[in-house]
Amino acid sequence: MKIFLSKTMPMSLIQKQFRVSLDPLQGLGPFWSFQFRGYTGSSNYKNKRLTTQPVLVEEPSHSRSWSSYIFPTAVIVIAGAGVLLHYNDERRAIPKGAHQNTGQETRTINKPAFGGPFRLIDTEYRLVTENDLRGQWSLIYFGYTSSPDVGPEEVQKMAKATDILEHNIKIKPVFITIDPQRDSPSQLRAYLKEFDTRIVGLTGSIDAIRQTAQEYRVYFKKVEEDGGDYLVASSHNMYLMDPNMETVRCFTQAYNAEQLAEDILKEMKRSSNSDSKSNEQKQN
């Protein structure tokens, strides 16, 4: 009959334990003594220690298991990230031997990312989409008819460059207005026919124009409002598109007509050279 009294036990518990240990096999006590009999029936040292300090024993083992999981999970996460990066690197790597094949692809990748589909209206009130410009080289300028000086200069430049390139290749100049509220198709026709009848004038609803300008990365904004009149600030760029409606390059205001024509010719020759090269490769 061993009675183990721990300091953390309240007096009632000590008494209960004392009683149970005195009569271990008595089955007629109150409910709580049954519970204790189950634990302390054998009057084993170990069992008694476990029941006396159930809460204390569980606490340290609980916190130890939680903190011990941090380190392995961290290791696994870092290892997983490393595996992902390595896999990504291998996927993106271009092996050394594939240079000839990727030569053509890298040239297309390096093109500026302008361009996209559009639905606009030309001076005859016909619907024009980007598919109508396929099959020939085109030069697109975004402007407006009420421009004081820059607009007319640029359109004049475009017309002159088209003239210079006339005997080499036909290039289609396109004028897309960024002021559709004032530039109706008839206004565009009257404006453009003074420069060159070949220039295609496109306008549309303000939403269509805004979407097109966004695709071509053209900045435009109403400035200088004076009653009903205003000017439109814009980036005066001309975009050269190849027959597949992909942007080859853009020309800023600094070019004059002769330089423009020369550079357009250069781009055409370069693309026709690479086309023939890729054809040769395909045959080989």
Partner: protein
């Protein structure tokens, strides 16, 4: 679809533009010629011009749209400013920033 009115703005077509450019050029030439005179009249955007050029100014304003007048005036002012900076004219220098003696006494 709702389109803008089909009005044709004739004051931006080639003839109107050319007469506007001519009036503008004659006005600015007058300003250059009378540069020694004191500018008393007010143009737009802070530009002043002497009274001798008044008739050219009126012609200029008549031929061109108001927004264009402002645009050209602003351009002219910018050009004059750059010219002044490049002129190396000693008479209009601002305060010179020479190294000052150290005045802070702890």
């Amino acid at each position: 679809m709702v389109m803008a009115s089909d009005k044709i703005h004739y004051d931006v077509l080639a003839d109107a533009r050319n007469s506007c450019y001519k009036a503008r050029d004659s006005f600015y030439a007058c300003m250059e010629k009378e540069a020694s005179k004191k500018p008393t009249e007010i143009a737009t955007v802070g530009l002043l011009y002497p009274a001798e050029c008044k008739q050219f100014r009126d012609e200029f304003v008549k031929q061109c749209r108001p927004t264009w007048v402002k645009h050209f005036d602003r351009q002219y002012c910018a050009k004059k400013k750059v010219q002044r900076l490049l002129d190396n004219d000693e008479s209009r220098r601002g305060p010179i920033s020479l190294p000052q003696p150290y005045t802070f006494k702890p």
